[in-house]
Structures are given as structure tokens and as C-alpha cells.
Symmetry: C2
Subunit: 413 residues, 2 copies
């Protein structure tokens, strides 16, 4: 009897974890991703803010999994699944599977705001981060040459939409880029014209965090030079000007949209029942209803805990990977699957240098201590010894010299 094939779609946190857990198991593993690298999403904003080189927040999948004998990796984009024939379909060919783990991840949700989608930046992929970095620096170079005051104000206004942890981290890093580096690089620019805005639709940033930490985070952002605007909803954007609900207009040549997230488009193509945000509905065992050999894990999975949908975060994806692999190995051995239960490791959001907020169990941390926790957690998690070393050097350099190492505009605009 040949060993069963476990196909995994996506080499994000969940897919990669599942692949690794299957090393040594009596199965063949086929891992597919449309990119040849695993992206370390939690540090992506640092590449966008010219802190880190893009190559430092990603690592080739083949380099990570080179030693895993029972694994085959393919760069290919899954287009759909033939559940009846148990085949995974890509543009080039189709792959048979016995078990399938969908770890397809998320994409930016623009909530139907066509202008924001067209002219705003999302921050989900490595090219996204490179585009943002190039755009911000190009805006400064253009502002130097721009004689019209309003047009210059737009070029020097960097708006972030969405006050969740992604938006808070991006805005904090941008403020430090602006105040710590760009004002020195561009002495000819009016310091007061350089603005970082964080626009949040609700009454407070960092939803899900304790109110006390939200307030601390908001004050810290303010001190670092971020203008936080609560109860501020974006109605439209044309690349030069933001229109808010209520009619107010803000000149801004940059809008980084972190305001929403949904499942990757493959979820819809599967033609299976979806929950909110197009997320794939699963049984508590992570199996798809009616397809017990198919599992969904990570951001694109819709499961509730305590009446709330699970957060779309890396720890949930990793824990789901553990459960899906355990259930597949149980099935291979003829045992029954068990249900997934999420154990939250806590909440953590960084606000630039020396500042973060964290809740770990009952413990609430803030300021430098929370930031130190954040640094340690992310360095440990960052895949690969070498990336860790390089990132650490970059951070230490930045910390000592208050400089941004990477601020190249690598592509023509």
C-alpha cells in the first residue's frame, strides 16, 4: 500500500507548520504556494517603513524544508479543488490528494471602497511592502520639487486606514521614519508639513485590547507624532485626497489600508459554504462539511469561540495546523478526529521604538518592557538563523544610530 498524499495549499504560518509536523509521518506531503518563499507577515510593516530589507522578512520555502525527505514543494497558484476526484487544480496541472489542508490565508478587505482599492496600498505581500517604501520615498523627492503648497501637503501626508494592530504598528513605524530620518534627509522640507495620520472608524484603536492599553497606545502614538483620528470613516479616495464620511476632505498622496481583512479569493472559487469575510466554514474538527478529508486552517477559516469568530492571527493558524495534522494522522491510523480549541497566547502590538502594549494572561504590559517582549517573541519566531541575525543587527544599528538603513527607491514610479 502506498503512503497517502497530504496536499497543503499555502506556505504561511499554518501551512508551513503543518508541513513540518508531517516530517517523518507515514505520508507524502505536497506543499504548494504561489511564491517561492514564506513571508514573515508580522514584520512586513518594517519592510514597508524602510526598517528592514524585504529579503529579511521572507525565506525561500525550499531552504526551510530542504531536509524534509517526504516533502515536495511546488510554486503554483491553486485555482480550485475537484472534491469528487480529490484533485487540487492549478493553472498548469492538477495534483491528486488523499488529504487536503487549505491554508490559503487572507487578503485586504476594502469593503467595496473602489477608490481606496485602486489608489490605496494594502500591506499583505512583499511586493506591497516594497511598493509602499518606494512610494513614500518618491513622495518626499517629488515634494522637494513641488511648488504648489496643497500638492506638497498631499505628498507629505501619510495616512493609515484602520486602527487595529497592523495599522498601529504601521503608523508608529512611519512616524519614526518621518521624524527620525526623513526630516534629516530632507532639510529643505517644512517639518510641519510632514504628517502621519491614523484613521479609525470606531471610537478607539486596537479593538480587543483592554481599554487601558488602548489609551496608552493612543497616547504613545501621539507623542511619536501620529495624529490619531477616531470615529473617522473613509468614504472615498482618489490618490490625492481622502474624502471622509461627513464630507471633510484631507489631502494625502499615500493611504495604507489596513482597515479590513477577508479570506483569499480561492475561498470563493471552492464553492463551499462560507462565513463572514468569505472565510471557509468548517466543523469543530477543522474538516469541511461533507468532505472529511479536507481541512481548512488559518486566517481563511471560519470558526467561532465563545460566540466570536476566531481572530486572524498567526498563533491561531499554527494551533490549527497542529490539530489538522493530528486529525489526519488519526484518520490514517483509523482513529476519530477531535475538536479544535484555541488557546490565546495573549495580545501584543508594538508602537515603534521602545514602546508596545501587551496582555499575556492577566498581565498587562506597556512601554519598554512590552517592547522587549515583542522583540524577543518576534526574533524567536522569525524563521531561519540568518534572517534572525541580520534583523537583529538592523535593529541594533537603528537603535544606536537612529537611522534607517534601507531607504532605496528600487523601482521607477
Amino acid at each position: 500500500m502506498t503512503e497517502p498524499t497530504v496536499a497543503i495549499v499555502g506556505a504561511g504560518f499554518g501551512g508551513l507548520k503543518a508541513a513540518r509536523l508531517l516530517a517523518g509521518a507515514p505520508v507524502r506531503v505536497l506543499l504548494l504556494d504561489r511564491n517561492n518563499y514564506h513571508l514573515f507577515q508580522p514584520l512586513l510593516y518594517q519592510a514597508a517603513a524602510a526598517y528592514l530589507e524585504p529579503e529579511q522578512v521572507a525565506k525561500p520555502v525550499r531552504a526551510i524544508l530542504r531536509r524534509q525527505k517526504n516533502l515536495t514543494f511546488r510554486v503554483a497558484e491553486a485555482r480550485g479543488v475537484d472534491f469528487a476526484r480529490k484533485r487540487l487544480i492549478t493553472a498548469e496541472e492538477s495534483f491528486p490528494y488523499d488529504y487536503l489542508i487549505l491554508a490559503i490565508g487572507g487578503q485586504t478587505n476594502f469593503y467595496g471602497l473602489a477608490g481606496v482599492q485602486r489608489y490605496g496600498f494594502s500591506l499583505k505581500s512583499l511586493p506591497d511592502a516594497i511598493r509602499i517604501r518606494n512610494h513614500i520615498l518618491a513622495c518626499c523627492e517629488k515634494a522637494v520639487l513641488e511648488k504648489d503648497l496643497l500638492a506638497r501637503q498631499a505628498l507629505l501626508t501619510f495616512a493609515v486606514g484602520g486602527g487595529g494592530s497592523a495599522g498601529v504598528e504601521m503608523a508608529g513605524a512611519l512616524a519614526e521614519l518621518v521624524q527620525g530620518v526623513l526630516v534629516k534627509d530632507y532639510p529643505e522640507l517644512d517639518r510641519d508639513q510632514l504628517r502621519v495620520l491614523l484613521l479609525e472608524g470606531q471610537g478607539e484603536i486596537l479593538p480587543g485590547f483592554p481599554a487601558e492599553l488602548c489609551r496608552v497606545a493612543r497616547e504613545t502614538l501621539g507623542r511619536k507624532g501620529v495624529a490619531v483620528r477616531l470615529n473617522t470613516q473613509v468614504a472615498d479616495y482618489n490618490g490625492r485626497e481622502l474624502r471622509l464620511k461627513g464630507g471633510e476632505k484631507l489631502p494625502a498622496a499615500t493611504l495604507i489600508w489596513t482597515g479590513g481583512i477577508a479570506a483569499a479569493p480561492l475561498a470563493r472559487a471552492l464553492k463551499v459554504p462560507l462565513g463572514r469575510q468569505d472565510r471557509i466554514l468548517t466543523e469543530p474538527t477543522l474538516q469541511l462539511p461533507g468532505h472529511p478529508e479536507v481541512y481548512s486552517i488559518g486566517d481563511a477559516t471560519y470558526l467561532e469561540a465563545g460566540g466570536q469568530p476566531l481572530a486572524m492571527v498567526a498563533p491561531a493558524a499554527v494551533q490549527m495546523a497542529e490539530k489538522a495534522v493530528a486529525n489526519i494522522l488519526a484518520a490514517v491510523a483509523g482513529r476519530a478526529p477531535s475538536s479544535f480549541v484555541y488557546r490565546s497566547p495573549g495580545l501584543l502590538a508594538t508602537i515603534g521604538r521602545n514602546a508596545a502594549v501587551a496582555q499575556i494572561g492577566g498581565l498587562k504590559l506597556r512601554g519598554f518592557l512590552a517592547w522587549a517582549v515583542w522583540v524577543v517573541v518576534h526574533l524567536i519566531r522569525l524563521v531561519g538563523f540568518r534572517n534572525r541575525l541580520m534583523v537583529l543587527i538592523n535593529w541594533i544599528y537603528d537603535y544606536l544610530f537612529y537611522d534607517r538603513a534601507v531607504r532605496l527607491i528600487t523601482h521607477e514610479d
Copy 2:
């Protein structure tokens, strides 16, 4: 009396050197480049071969020159010069100058081979290097999925056109990428199908080097897995197949063309007398005939020494910058200009890890010693403390682990 303005076009080795030499001089300096960074061209091939991160071979001009008080930097592409009105013309505006230093650099010369220009890669810019890296890695991923033997052979054949030092360095680095890393990353590929070709039109590689070192370099390339073909001229290329003069056809999905170099296109737009390779003819003082306030330095300058045109290399650009600045300061002080004399620091070409050939004065070096000289020379020259540190770490890591750190395909093909 206001201080005269010295405009400099191009922030390559020559332009940057000129700008720095003018620090503290009684002039205002305007430096223009179409990119916001200085590119360290001698290591560009390492970014193309996934050795170094692109950000490690470039540094923002504003970061380099931040402390220079009499300097203004602009990202803008020069389109021409109004010599009569003494204005430098860009797409957006024009800048007045009293003295002008043209340091416009070179571009790849395809010698009218339209197919090579269209489907081949040049290796002159940072985007060029990123494109080559992405393409090579994408070829491997495609080869894994390719069932047609000939098509797979083409995908796995990496041809370098031109056996000068750029071609030798590129081919050596590619061979090490292929033999040291890709064969491990892609165990499913047939090792014998992975080929690196170096095509040289003349009877020997490394023109200008002593015959003995040329032979050593050729043998070293062979040992590292590069098939060196002498007296082999490319007649046409269609992206899948190379046609050689004589009719032979070679399947190759990759052709990196280092076979020729010419002055940047601005040289033609100036409508001044040009020499071979469209290089700008100057007086021995580096002044343009009839325009004593305009100087040309670096690759795009046509000057002969001993009946031969000067080599298009960094040391020549730097020495010309010194002379042009000295002559401008002489003119400001009412003194006469003096003639440029090139002092060659020697010849140096590296052939991957542990091997290089060098001629310094009467001394001929080869093997590890020449390579050590190469490492030291390039680390010292590489602009900026941090880049130096990061590059050193990358090199040491590579040296110890025989691994390629950077092998991401960062853009969709």
C-alpha cells in the same frame, strides 16, 4: 558676489566623488540622479546571483551626503543641456549652472542585436539584478513542472554573453549558485541539465589581462562548472534559443548580456562631438570643446591614453572626478586647468569563491590570495559602514555554510 553653482549629473563613482570633493569649497553643489541611491556596480552581479540583498549594494545618496552643507540633491533625470543659457534640463524643470560635471555613466551595448536586447538581460542597474535573480529562480521552479526535455534544458541553461570581467564574475557566481545551492534546493532536477555557459566572441576571455591570468581564469571557471566557449558570437536570441554565428543553436531561457558597453543615452541628446561607443569627446583637461565650463567624467567620457581609449572602470571615474574638481576650483580662483593622466591601479577579476586573478603593477596574483585582495578592496570601497558589515556577514555565512541567503522570487513573472 554669490558663490558659483557646480551641477553634477549622476551619482555613480565619479559624480559622488566630485560632490564630496567639493564639500567646503566656495561653491554651491547641485547633484542630480534619476535614482535616489548610489549603486555599487562592482557587486551588482552578486545581487543578481542571489548572494547579496539588492539593498546591500546600494545606498541612498541623501544618507551618504547628509552632512555636506553646500550640497543639494535632486532625484531627476537629465534630458539635455542648454549650453548657451547654461541650464541643465530635466523633465520637470531646468537648473542654472556655472560649472557642469557630466558623470552620466554607461549602458549595455547590444550592438544592434534586437533579439538579445529584447529577450536578454543587461546587468547595469538594481532592477536589472533583481530581474535576473527572479528569472533564474523562476526558471528552476518552471523546470520542475516542465515535462518536455528540450524546454526543460532551455530553462536550466544560463548563458552569459561576453567574457570580460563582468561576464567572468557573473558566470562564476552563477556556477556556484547552481552547483552549491540549486542542486540541493531542487533534488528533482537532473544535475546534468543545469548548465552555465560563458560565450566569448574572441579567442580568449578577460581582454587586457596578461595571457597567463586569462588561462588561469578560464581553467578556474571550468572547474567551477562553467562551460567557456571562445570564438563564439551570438547572432540572435528569441528567449528560448540562442543562434550562434555559423548557425549552431543552443536552447537557453536565460541570456545575461555583458558583451558591450556604451555611454548613457543622454550623451547623444547633448549634440556634442562623440567618440566610439557614443562617449563624449573632451579636451585632455576633461572640458568639452568650446564649453570650458562643462566637464565630462567617467564611463561616458572618451579620452585616449597611449592610443587606446580609457577603460570604463570605477578608478578612472574617480580619478577624473579629482581632476575635474581641481580644474573647476582652479577656474574659480582664476588659474588655468591641467590635463588628466590616468594611473591604473591594476586589474582584478573574481571568479566566485576563493578564486580571482589580479595584476597590480608588475605583480600577478591568482587563486585565494587574489580573491583575498578582491574582498578587501571591495569592502573598503563599499560605501557606508552598515552595508560593509552586512555584506561581510553575508559573505562569511556563505563561506561557512555554502548557502545562498537570498533567493526569493519577489515579483510575479
